[in-house]
């Protein structure tokens, strides 16, 4: 489990502590919706954490 090659013919390396079957967190947002909400999500995250404009780039 863990990192996996995107190619069907190239195996990804194993990570020993990774679970045999990973539960996924799914989002119902489409890619387009994810695009639209990004500025608002980032702004809300910064507001909740009290972060100003000067973040490490």
């Amino acid at each position: 489990m863990g990192w996996s090659s995107a190619r069907s013919d190239v195996p990804g390396p194993d990570i020993k502590e990774a679970p045999a079957d990973v539960e996924t967190i799914k989002t119902e947002l489409s890619l387009e919706e994810a695009l639209k909400v990004r500025p608002g999500y980032v702004a809300k995250w910064k507001q909740l954490w009290g972060l100003g404009a000067s973040l490490p780039k």
Partner: protein, 297 residues
Amino acid sequence: MRIRRFVTAIAACTTVAMSLAAGGASATDQAIVDAAKTEGKLVIYTGVERAAAQALVNAFEKKYPFISAEAVRASSSKIATRLDAEIEADRVQGDVFEFSLLYLTMSLRKRGEILKYDSANYPHYPAAYADPGYWAATGVSSIIILLNTRKVDEPNFPQSWWDLTKPYWKNKLTIDNLEVSGTGYNWLIAIVNEGRLGWKFIEELGRNKPVLERGHAGMAQKVAAGEYAAAVEMADFHLKNIRAAAPSVPVRGVWPREGVPVSHGPPASSSARRIRMRLSFTWTSFSRQRARRSTSN
């Protein structure tokens, strides 16, 4: 005129880049290679760590010594911003791009900004990980918690994302800047939309004052060195990379019981019409479970 000449050169470059990313050889059209010789340069925009980018450049130049390659490294968001500006100005400098914002890749594709290139490598990719002719994923990874096992007592190893909101973790955590990090934003959007976590989790996590860092490779190294007890969100291949460099390093990954995020993300917009890039390589953060399901479909 330059655009047309450049596109001709890129066809060979991306074929090779695809082969390098996948670790295998592919048939390369000799005519394209010959045309590429007249250009002589490949510029890759990439979000991967410096060593990986340099390895790609070195391997490319070894195989195609008549084309010099240059990797321009930046965070995913910086690459996206740069791309948009260059498209807007019709002065795109990069030839191939790679970042972790799949939604942006797909947006560029929809807008017709990625030039078609039919690599012989596409048949090796499951449908979920490639849009043949336009982009292919380079890997699949979970976004996990990374721990330094010398800095965290075993009873405090997190089992749930919520465990990171406990007072024990105050001033022990680091996280990438979610404003510019592709992986970081992919993590945020998944967590916020998960009913068991949501903005409440984000708010409570913030009370433990995670230190914002710049880039996951550096963050992983700092966790390994004990500068931080844990990184809140980390693509799991960084764990593999750290162990490959130093097998005894005291780090471990945690896959919380609620699950690990699946990548999706949003980009910026542009009215530009054409980009010189033939193919994009996109790091996506799908879980293995998703990969299996997609493969079996």
